[in-house]
């Protein structure tokens, strides 16, 4: 390669020239994987870009993208970038108000929406988006009834674009040529655990250099298969499904719809796969639940070979030496168990899998690695165009997030906060000078907001959000997330909220995992009628208590964290829900919000009450609200003081 293309549109044209016949993107539709090669994609993008131009789109204008992962929506990104515009992807499951904020804040001119559902949301809020001019829709289903003056069929737009292109044949290429690496490439809104979303401004250089570094780091090729199923508004999808595809030329596949993702995953059999820990976790839970119904003989075979895998699998994956016997046992296990298992999970061909976003349970992590799936952790942020640290092959540990990625510098502040500097570092928060200055220093260092330290292997270890790390009244350090994550590694626990900052001791509220606990209840003949009833069963409480005790045992072993042992806990009567504001859209716990909402419960946890009455407002899926009430028990636990016994 002589000159590296420095923008996405230039890359696209280069790909179309160099390997135009190779598949670029696929979508499962009408029962088969409809495929477009790079030349076709370049052609579609060109028509689209010219269509935008024909409708008065100027350099610097912004296009919002609302919908599931669809080839046309990815093309919209490239089309906007081709003519100097900025794509603004939004979360497809966001409610109208959330979308309205982004459209208004980003001063979006055009919206490309997937279907009627998304169009309806935008029409609801269009009066409050003064800059919004036109809405384009991909799926025409049910759209005929709408007033078509501001609503335009995607195909019409492309048709207009082709006409425009014929009249102005040089326009497109000229516009692409005008683009430079330092131009803004994309505006990504981070959901943020507090306050309004912030628009992260990334340039072509930011994204492309990071993407290239990642590709070189992991030796990705143009033969990778990737399934694009995570929200397009999320930076991870932008890097893995868009940027790296453009850079290395591999093909990305879009699933048929949200309900068929697992099936589509199995069909495609990706070689390069990204999933946040909850997905790996629910897959594993699913495996275990399905195995419980299996015939005895299959269970015996499964259990035996999984034991073999746990002992030798990770070693074989790390290319360490194992005994001949183990090697053959593992091979046999692969034929009988691991192979079929990976096959049903759609992971047969995975060469590289990443997980990030939060801590992954060591059991879960080991499970996949023992099957021979090269799953690694990374640590990243939207503000860094994702990669901050990556685990190099051969240095994969469940409790760290790896070493600094290529060209990334890391330093730890005195208060334990992690800072980094890299070519991927964002320009600014859109229209938010103050916040930008708060996060990004003059020298280009970015505050991650996470507390952590570099261990003796040179790996970064994250313990919590920096601002969440607090102190117990006795002065010892308290990292709530660390405690929560340890508890969440138990399959029966779905969510945990830990309290302790400024208190005498640590106390937690637990959400049971309905699927896992229901299954457990069935096997133990425990009857229940509802989530609430199941959560309140004494047997369930005991189950949770056992888990909490184990965590206390582990915490006691670490002198820094021994004081964070859990003294009291309760099991919540309802599932924490993003619709009720208790979780973020990325399913992170909003601790302060919860502390406020469930003030009575928190107070009870720090009293000697044995139970506490609570009434809660809930929002149902159809938009109605109601309330549920419950009398929740609170349990006390013993803490381990004897360190030797505990260890």
């Amino acid at each position: 390669m002589a000159v590296k293309s420095d923008t996405f549109p230039k890359l696209l044209l280069e790909n179309a020239r160099r390997f135009g016949d190779r598949p670029a993107i696929r979508e499962k539709e009408f029962g088969i994987w409809q495929t477009w090669n790079w030349r076709q994609v370049a052609d579609e993008v060109r028509a689209l870009a010219c269509g935008f131009a024909a409708r008065g789109f100027k350099r610097g204008d912004r296009v919002a993208i609302v919908g599931d992962n669809r080839p046309r929506l990815y093309w919209t990104m490239a089309a906007a970038q081709s003519i100097g515009g900025v794509p603004v992807p939004t979360y497809q499951d966001a409610v109208a108000e959330e979308i309205q904020y982004v459209l208004e804040h980003a001063e979006v001119k055009f919206v490309v929406a997937e279907d009627q559902e998304q169009v309806d949301k935008i029409l609801d809020v269009q009066e409050r988006c003064p800059s919004l001019r036109e809405i384009f829709f991909d799926d025409t289903r049910g759209m005929r009834k709408y007033d078509q003056s501001r609503l335009i069929d995607f195909e019409v737009l492309q048709r207009e674009g082709r006409e425009f292109d014929q009249k102005n044949p040089d326009y497109f290429v000229q516009q692409v040529e005008q683009g430079k690496g330092e131009d803004v490439a994309i505006l990504l809104y981070t959901s943020g655990t507090t306050g309004r979303p912030k628009g992260v401004v990334l340039t072509h250089d930011n994204v492309l250099i990071t993407a290239r570094n990642g590709i070189e780091f992991d030796h990705l090729t143009q033969d990778e298969e990737v399934l694009a199923y995570l929200p397009m508004a999320w930076v991870g999808d932008h890097i893995f499904s868009y940027a790296q595809s453009y850079v290395s030329g591999f093909c990305v596949s879009c699933p048929e719809n949200a309900s068929t993702v697992m099936h589509d995953l199995r069909e495609i059999g990706p070689t390069y796969f990204f999933a946040p820990p909850p997905i790996f976790e629910s897959l594993l839970t699913n495996v275990m639940i399905r195995m419980e119904d299996a015939a005895r003989i299959s269970q015996i075979i499964f259990t035996y070979f999984m034991r073999v895998a746990r002992s030798v699998g990770p070693k074989i994956l790390a290319k360490e030496a194992v005994s001949i016997k183990d090697k053959w046992l593992y091979k046999l296990g692969h034929l009988l168990v691991y192979g079929p298992l990976k096959n049903t999970l759609g992971m047969s061909r995975i060469q590289l899998a990443y997980t990030a976003g939060e801590a992954i349970g060591p059991d879960i992590f080991d499970f996949y690695r023992s099957l021979g799936i090269n799953i690694k952790q990374l640590y990243g942020q939207t503000e860094a165009s994702v990669n901050v640290t990556l685990q190099p092959d051969g240095e994969v540990y469940p409790d760290t997030v790896g070493k600094p990625a290529p060209q990334v510098e890391i330093k730890i502040a005195d208060d334990g906060e992690v800072l980094y500097r890299s070519p991927g570092v964002f320009q600014c928060y859109f229209k938010n000078e103050a916040e930008t200055r708060e996060i990004k220093t003059e020298e280009g260092w970015v505050h991650t907001g996470d507390a952590g330290f570099i261990d003796d292997r040179g790996h970064l270890k994250i313990i919590d959000r920096a601002k969440d790390v607090g102190k117990l009244n006795d002065g010892s350090i308290f990292a709530p997330k660390y405690v929560e994550n340890k508890l969440k590694f138990f399959p029966h626990i779905k969510e945990v909220v830990a309290f302790g900052d400024g208190r005498d001791y640590c106390a937690v509220m637990v959400n049971i995992d309905m699927e896992a606990v229901a299954n457990w209840a069935e096997r133990n003949n425990i009857s229940y009628a509802s989530y609430q009833e199941l959560a309140a069963r004494p047997e369930v409480y005991q189950l949770i208590e056992d888990g909490v005790s184990k965590v206390n045992e582990e915490l006691a072993a670490d002198p820094n964290l021994a004081a964070s042992q859990i003294r009291r806990f309760l099991v919540l009567h309802k599932e924490l829900d993003a619709d009720d504001g208790e979780l973020t859209r990325t399913r992170k716990v909003r601790r302060r919000f919860i502390a406020d909402k469930y003030r009575t419960l928190v107070d009870a946890l720090y009293s000697d009450k044995k139970s506490c009455f609570i009434e809660t407002e809930v929002a149902f899926e159809d938009g109605r609200t109601g309330s549920i009430s419950a009398d929740l028990q609170i349990r006390d636990l013993n803490v381990y003081t004897d360190l030797k016994k505990a260890s």
Binding site: E29, F30, G31, I32, G142, R144, K145
Partner: protein, 265 residues
């Protein structure tokens, strides 16, 4: 949805239909028309002759008297194959899917009248026959997409829940690209959510493809919501015909539904 819907000329007119089975009269002097592009409901108490009327329209029953004008051609009676190949498709009151076949194959049978390649070509599965098969598969996939039944594409229909079977049956009818679609109680036995889905599909079919729809339905709410005009039968006779509002206000209709108790209900 905008208020005023405009319709074309009648696509179908039945005139003075008399139908009886061995002395038992099912239909007596029934006349009405169905306009191009409208949703036409046929309602009436049990045993009023609604299903018989559909059976007359698509040629399964042959009336003793009367005539049927379909797309400008007047006949004494229809023949099932002729009706099917000239653009009349239907669903059935009691699901009449082909139990031993998958969803896909069931819907493919709806394309039967449009497939031409002979036995020999098909046995060889080469060239034209293969191409024809794949073209029709493509069309059927669009129907599957339209009805949102992708996930059950290859499931044998016998294993599907009731509501899904109804949807597949609609798919089979749609696959024939009908000009006139006859739906015999498309929402019978469904729960609220399934009914809403089905209503949406019926309206979308009418809207998207401009298909004329004649449907029999018991749920008055549904009928009033989605139909443009309603014809009411009772004891084999037409007792009212008009817009949902007119029909609802008709004294004879109210009597037929409320006034007389019947043992056959």
């Amino acid at each position: 949805m905008e208020g005023d819907r405009k319709f074309g000329d009648p696509i179908l007119e039945v005139q003075d239909i008399n139908l009886s089975f061995g002395g038992v009269t099912a239909l007596e002097g029934v006349s009405f028309d169905i306009l191009n592009g409208e949703v036409r409901a046929i309602i009436g108490p049990n045993g009023a002759g609604k299903s018989s009327m559909l059976n007359v329209i698509n040629g399964f029953y042959h009336p003793q008297q009367g005539q049927i004008t379909y797309k400008g051609k007047t006949r004494r009676q229809m023949r099932p194959h002729h009706a099917a190949s000239s653009g009349i498709a239907r669903t059935f009151q009691n699901i009449a899917l082909f139990k031993g076949m998958s969803t896909l194959d069931n819907i493919m049978t709806g394309r039967n009248t449009k497939m031409r390649k002979n036995l020999l070509w098909q046995a060889l599965y080469l060239g034209p026959a293969k191409r024809e098969e794949l073209e029709h598969r493509d069309f059927v996939e669009h129907v599957i997409d339209f009805l949102e039944i992708q996930a059950i594409r290859k499931t044998p229909v016998g294993k599907l829940p009731y509501g899904m079977q109804k949807r597949v049956e609609l798919g089979r009818a749609l696959a024939a690209e009908p000009e006139l679609l006859l739906l015999d109680e498309p929402m019978a036995g469904m729960n609220l959510e399934e009914k809403e889905d089905m209503c949406r599909f019926v309206l979308d079919v009418n809207d998207q493809f401009g298909t004329t729809i004649a449907l029999i339905e018991h749920d008055m709410g549904v009928v009033m919501d989605i139909s443009d005009r309603v014809v009411v039968l009772d004891y084999g006779k037409k007792i009212a015909d008009g817009t949902p509002e007119e029909v609802r206000a008709d004294q004879r209709v109210i009597e037929a539904y409320l006034g007389v108790t019947r043992d056959d209900n």
